[in-house]
Symmetry: D3
Subunit: 204 residues, 6 copies
C-alpha cells in the first residue's frame, strides 16, 4: 500500500499552503501526533478547505444536547450507509475514544440496528439514516419521535446537519480516493491507550 | 400556502443577525429583488450559514471549465435525485437564466437522460448522479470517461464537489421544510424577462 | 431542439389518417390552439390510438368523486415516479389550469410528500404511487385508508385506473421519444392567462 | 377459496351488461369453454372494458414479426416483474398452448434469464423488462440491440406496447383482487390436451 | 432442451460415487420414481453433498409445529424471492402434494401476499421473506408477531433456518445451472394423481 | 453488554451436549483460547450443528486454488452485504491473521471496491457479491471473467459455495442475536500478536 497515492489529485507541500491552512494542519498534527489524510487531501483547494473545516467545527465542536460520542456515532453509521472507508475508520476511532467503548464502532459500522446502544441512540441513528437515505420523506412524525426520546429541535438540527455534512465528506473521500491513516485502525481499542487528545479525523 | 411557515425552526429578524450575515442577505436582496428563502432559513445558525455560503461561493462563483449554466444543471439533476423542491425550483430558474434555455430545467428535473443536452453534458451529469447515488463505486474509469469528453481533473473535482455540496443543501432543505419563493417558478421562462442578475437560489 | 424528431417512429400526415383519428386531432387543435404531440405520435397506429383515447376519455372525462385537478395531480405524480417528461410537463399545465394553482405542479413533480396539498389529496396520491410502484402489495388496508378520507370504492377504482393508464402512457412516451410541446411549459403559470380550454395533454 | 369473491368491486350479471360487452363475453365463453375472470371483473365499467379489449386486440391479434407465443412470453415475464398472479397463470397457459412448450411458462415466471429460450427471445424479453422497470432509460442503444437480433421498428413498438398494456392490466388485477380461473393452471400441460382454441386470458 | 447439460460442472456416474452417497440417491430414485437433479448435480462434491442433505433432513424431516406443507411453502416463497426455477418447481410440487392444494404453489410463486392462505401462514411467510431479504432488521417485534399467531420459539428457528438453508440451495442451483426434472412440473396438479411418496425435490 | 444473552434461544451447558458436539467445542476452545459464540449458540440444535460445521469444514478446510485468507475475504465481504456483525468481526480477525494484513478486513467491510486488493481478488469478490445479491443473474460470462483471472471451475464452485454457506450463517446469526466474542475485535491487529492458531470464528 506504500505506493498508493494519498489522493487522485495533487497534494501540496505544507510550505506551499496559505498560512491559515498550514496553521490548522500543524495544530492537528501536534495534538494527534499525525496528520489525518483528510487535511492533506482537501488542502488542494484552500477555499473549500476553509469552508469544510468551518462547517465541521460549527457542528462537531459546539455545545449542545448530543455528546461527542453520539456525534461520532452519527458519522460512523451514515458513512457506513455511504460505504466510505475513510470516515468509518477515522470516526470509528473517535467513537471508541470519546465513548470509551472499544467495541461499539465496529458494531455500528456493521449494523447499527443490532448494536449495543440505548433507545435514545437508536432514535438518533434512525433519523440520521433517514436524512442520509431518503430525506425527502422527513416529516413532523420524525420530530415527534425524537422529542419523545428527549431531543429538542436544536438537537434534531444537529443530527440532520451532521449526517448531511458527512454525506458531503463521504463523497469527497470517494472522489479523491482518500484512505485512512494506519494510526486510526488501532486508536481506542486497547485499554491502556488513552491519549489526551484522540487524534481526530477531521478535527484539531 | 400563506400561513405555512418558512421553516420548522425559528427564523431570526434581519436586525437580530450578526452584521456579516445581514450584509450578505441585504446584498442578495438588492441584486435579486427578493430574499431567497435559503438565506432566511439558514440564518438561524450563523456559524453554519457562513460555512455554507463560503462553500457555495468557492464552488459556484469560481472560474473553471464548467459554465455557470452547467453548474446549475448539476444542481437541478442531483436535487431531482434527492427530490428537493427548493433546489429544483430555485436552481431551475438559474439554469434557464444562465443558459438562456427556458425549457431545459423542467426536462432535467423530469429525466436528464432524455433532456436536450450535449454528449459532454450527459457525461457531466452521469458523473454527478453517480456521486449522488453511489459514490463508493467511483473509479478511474469515471475519470477516463470524463477526460474523453474534454474535462480535466479540476473540472471533475468541481462536478463532484457541487453534487456533494448540494446533497448537503437538499438535506438541510428537507430538515427545515424550506420551500421555494414564488418568484423562482417563473424566472427565465419568458423571453422578455431578462434581469441583470438572476436572483439566485443561494447566491448573491 | 428544432431538428429533434417528434418520434422515433414515422409520423403520418394529417391527411393520411383515418377520418375519425383526423377529426379527433382537429378537434383538440381547435380547442387548445396547438396539437399536443401525443396525438401526433400515437396516430402512427390508428387502432391503438383509438383505444388509447377511448380509455383516456373513460377515465378523465367522466363524472365522479375526483375533481379534474385531482385527476391531473395523479398523472403528474405517477409520471414523476416513472420519470416521464412529456406527461409531467403536459399534465402539470393541466394541474395549474384546472386547480388554479400556478405553483403546485412543480411541487408535485419534485416531491409530492412535501407539496401544498390536503390530507385527502395526500391519501389519494399515496395510493396512486402504490399502484405505480408496488401494486402487488395492495390490500384492504388501502381501501380502509381511502374510505377514511371520504373516497368511495368507485373513486378508488378511478385513482388506480388513472395511475395504471398513465403508466402505460409514460412507457409509450419513453418508447417513442415523445417530448412536450413548448406551449405546455408556460400554460397556467401567469395570472392573466386563463384560456377557456386548457389545451390538454391528451384531451380534446 | 370458493367463497372468495371474484372482485373487490361489483360484478354485473351477464344480462345486465350492454349488448356488445355481453356478446364479447359470450364469444370467449364459447371458444374457451369458460369465462376468464378478467372479462367478468372489468365488465363493471363497460366504457373501460371496451377500451381495454380494443387495446388488447390491437396488440395481441395483429399480424407482425412476433409470434403469438412470443407475445404471450412478454406478458408472462413482465407480469412476473409486477407479481401479478392472474396474468402469470392465464398467459402462462397461452405460452404453453401457442408455443407447444409445456415447461416454458413456469421457467419464464421464475427467472427468464435462465429459461430455455433463443438469443432473439432473450433480447425481446430484456427490452420488455426494461420498459416495465425503467422505461426512462430507454435509448437508441436498445433499438440497436433489437435490430441486431432481427427485429424491426414495428416489432419494437409491439414489444414495448405489450409490456406497457399488461403493466396496466397487472395493476387493474391487483386493484380488483382478480384471481385466475382454475382452468388456466392445467391448460397446455398435458400432451394429449390440444384444444382448437386456447381459452385465452383476455382474448376471444 | 435435451442437450442442455444437467450442470456446468462434471456429473459423476452413479457407480463412481462413494457408497453412502450412491445409497441415498438410489433410495430417492426408488421412492420418487426418478432422481431429482439436485442429487445428481451436488454429488460432484461428496463431502458437501453429505452436509447439504444432513442439513436438509434436520430441517425438513423433523417433527415440530410446522406442517410438511408449510415447510414447503417457505421454500417456494423464498425461492421466488431468489428467483430459483429449480426450487420453485420442485418444491411447488411438494406444496401441491403435501397440502393437497393443486393451485396454491403457483399463487405463492407469483405473489404470496395475495395467495389463498391463512393469517398464520401469512405471518410465517412474512418472516421467511424478511430472513431472506433483510435479516439484519430482525428484532424481537418479529418474535412477538409470530407468537401472536401461535408459533413458539422453536417454530421460529425452523422458519428462519429453512429460509436460510434454501437461500444456500438457491445459490447452488444458480451456480450449477441446475434445472428441474420435467416430472416436477405436473406432480400434484391432477386430482387422480396421488403417489404414496411425493417424489420430493431434495428428499428421500 | 455483560447481561445481553448469547442467544435469543436456550444455550445448553457443555455437559449436556452430545459427545461429538462437546468434543468439537472443546477442541476449538483449546486451539483458540476461547469458545467462539457460534459454537455455543448453534449447539442448541445438535443435528443442525453437525451439518453446519461439516459444511463449513468441507468448504474452508479443503485444499484448492483459494488461499485461506481469500476464503475469509469472501466471508467478510458477503457478510458486509448481509450486515452481519458476528461474521464481519470474527472472520475479519481471520483475514488479518491468515493474510498478515492488519488493515485489510476493515477496508473490505467498509467497501471492498476501494480496498487494497489485487485484480484477481477483485474478480473473486465481485463474483461472491453477485452470488449473494443476485444469483439469478449468474451466467457463463461470470465464469469467463473468473477464468481470465486464473480461477478454474472448482475455484468458482468454492467461491460461490462459501458465499452461499455464509449467507446461511449470516441469517442464523441474525435469528439468534449472536454477537462476536470480544476477543475477535483485536485479533491480528497488533504486529506482535501472532498466535499459532488464529482462534477462528467457526473453525477448530
Amino acid at each position: 500500500m506504500s505506493e498508493k497515492p494519498l489522493s487522485h489529485f495533487p497534494v501540496p507541500e505544507l510550505d506551499d499552503l496559505p498560512e491559515d491552512v498550514r496553521a490548522r494542519i500543524e495544530d492537528v498534527h501536534e495534538k494527534a501526533g499525525f496528520i489525518p489524510n483528510v487535511f492533506v487531501v482537501l488542502s488542494h483547494r484552500p477555499a473549500e478547505f476553509r469552508a469544510f473545516f468551518a462547517y465541521h467545527d460549527a457542528l462537531m465542536e459546539k455545545e449542545g444536547g448530543l455528546s461527542k460520542a453520539e456525534r461520532e456515532m452519527i458519522v460512523v453509521v451514515t458513512s457506513a450507509v455511504n460505504r466510505c472507508p475513510y470516515c468509518i475508520v477515522a470516526h470509528g476511532a473517535l467513537v471508541r475514544i470519546y465513548g470509551k467503548t472499544p467495541l461499539l464502532a465496529d458494531q455500528l459500522a456493521a449494523n447499527y440496528l443490532s448494536a449495543d446502544i440505548t433507545t435514545r441512540q437508536r432514535a438518533l441513528l434512525d433519523f440520521a439514516v433517514k436524512i442520509t437515505e431518503r430525506s425527502h420523506e422527513v416529516s413532523t412524525h420524525d420530530f415527534d419521535a425524537l422529542h419523545a426520546e428527549g431531543f429538542d429541535d436544536e438537537d434534531i438540527w444537529d443530527i440532520a446537519a451532521i449526517a448531511a455534512f458527512f454525506g458531503l465528506s463521504n463523497r469527497m473521500a470517494a472522489l479523491t480516493g482518500m484512505w485512512p491513516n494506519p494510526e486510526f485502525y488501532l486508536l481506542g481499542r486497547l485499554p491502556r491507550r488513552a491519549p489526551e487528545n484522540g487524534g481526530s479525523g477531521d478535527d484539531s
